[in-house]
Amino acid sequence: MKPTGRFPLAGPARIWISMAIFLALPLTGRAQETEREFEKELIDGDYMYTVLGPDAIPAVDDPVFVSREEAESFMDDGEPVIGLLIDGEARAYSLYHLDHHEIVNDTVAGRKVAVTW
């Protein structure tokens, strides 16, 4: 993985390391043990690792919603969700679904919100 140069990285020089890690690699769709090199940068005493390029996991920018009745076709009762209630407007976001997006940029009852997972 190459540095993207896209973000304003300040501070100490970038360091490349090799290590065995557990990586939940969203591109392959499953967790795996792997040996890879990652760019890392020390921030406030902890390394920030660049694991993927920006938007490799695509946030949802134009969320589409359906009614509860319609959702029954793709939701299970035991499925974990984030439930959001703003001014009487209720929304549910499946965590199985959010695994693939991690962020939903939404507007609920006029409030601009980011649902993150």
């Binding site: 694991v51 509860r68 549910a92 976001y93 993150t116």
Partner: protein, 253 residues
């Protein structure tokens, strides 16, 4: 991480849209905003790199529950449409393996609790307190204090979610107790005015303070290791002999 967190993506009239940076810091999601490309940490909502460095996103209360429970409470709910069929989590092994701490296996910085212990972290006035979820659920209702802020925590057995409110009102600090009667819909009562409250919404539903709304406080359900990396000075709550059952002595801390 296992943390679902909702933020207002507007600060001082400026709107942000967020993307996934592909970076991990302290084993947690790093977001970037498409407007300034600053980097924000998901756990505390703070920009730590870029033009917006130092800005903090406002936390919006949400719950983590199941579809079955949520739709019962909110039959009118809308649901984010899936673009394809996702029927399980790809992180299941990670979530359930107690020895797997974070994606990079960073050492746990604070061993007061196990790394994979689920906790609810509460922030108020620059202080943080951590409530181990299991103990919190056992207690159900907790009157506590974080720094100078008197708080109430409620673990809802119906939705398995946790709500936090300030206990400070126009009538002073209130102390809440569960009501033994089953038919009271899970309402609670404050000792000072006898008002009945709904602990899921923080609203006074019956009595002298009816119509009053308690201020909701940011409470985040997350694995201990992730919280400990961001908030090393957190106090950890332990259930005392205190009980929030009616008739027990008043507790204010």
């Amino acid at each position: 991480m296992n943390a679902g967190i909702v933020y207002a993506r507007e600060i001082g009239g400026r709107e942000y849209t967020f993307g996934v940076s592909g970076k991990l810091w302290r084993d947690a999601l790093v977001m970037y905003d498409r407007q300034s490309e600053s980097l924000w940490s998901q756990v505390d909502g703070r920009a730590f790199r870029g033009p917006r460095e130092g800005e903090i996103l406002e936390h919006i209360p949400s719950v983590q529950t199941t579809w079955g429970k949520w739709k019962k409470l909110h039959p009118q709910t809308l649901v984010l449409k899936k673009e394809s069929e996702f029927t399980s989590t790809r992180y299941e092994k990670y979530f359930t393996d107690p020895d797997r701490i974070g994606v990079f296996g960073n050492p746990l910085k604070d061993e007061r609790l196990g790394g994979k212990v689920e906790i609810v972290g509460v922030r108020a006035g620059g202080k943080q307190m951590v409530f181990p979820l299991e103990a919190l659920r056992a207690a159900g209702l907790v009157n506590s204090r974080v720094g100078e802020t008197e708080i109430l925590l409620h673990a809802d057995p119906q939705t398995a979610s946790v709500h936090a409110f300030s206990r400070m009102t126009s009538r002073g600090v209130l102390n809440f107790s569960k009501i033994a009667k089953k038919k009271r819909k899970g309402w609670i009562r404050d000792r000072e005015t006898g008002t009945l409250w709904d602990p899921r919404t923080g609203q006074a539903v019956k009595g002298k303070m009816r119509g009053t709304q308690l201020d909701e406080i940011s409470a985040t359900k997350v694995f201990w290791f992730a919280w400990a990396a961001f908030f090393p000075g957190s106090e950890i709550w332990t259930p005392e002999t205190e009980s929030a059952e009616e008739g027990s002595p008043a507790t204010s801390s």
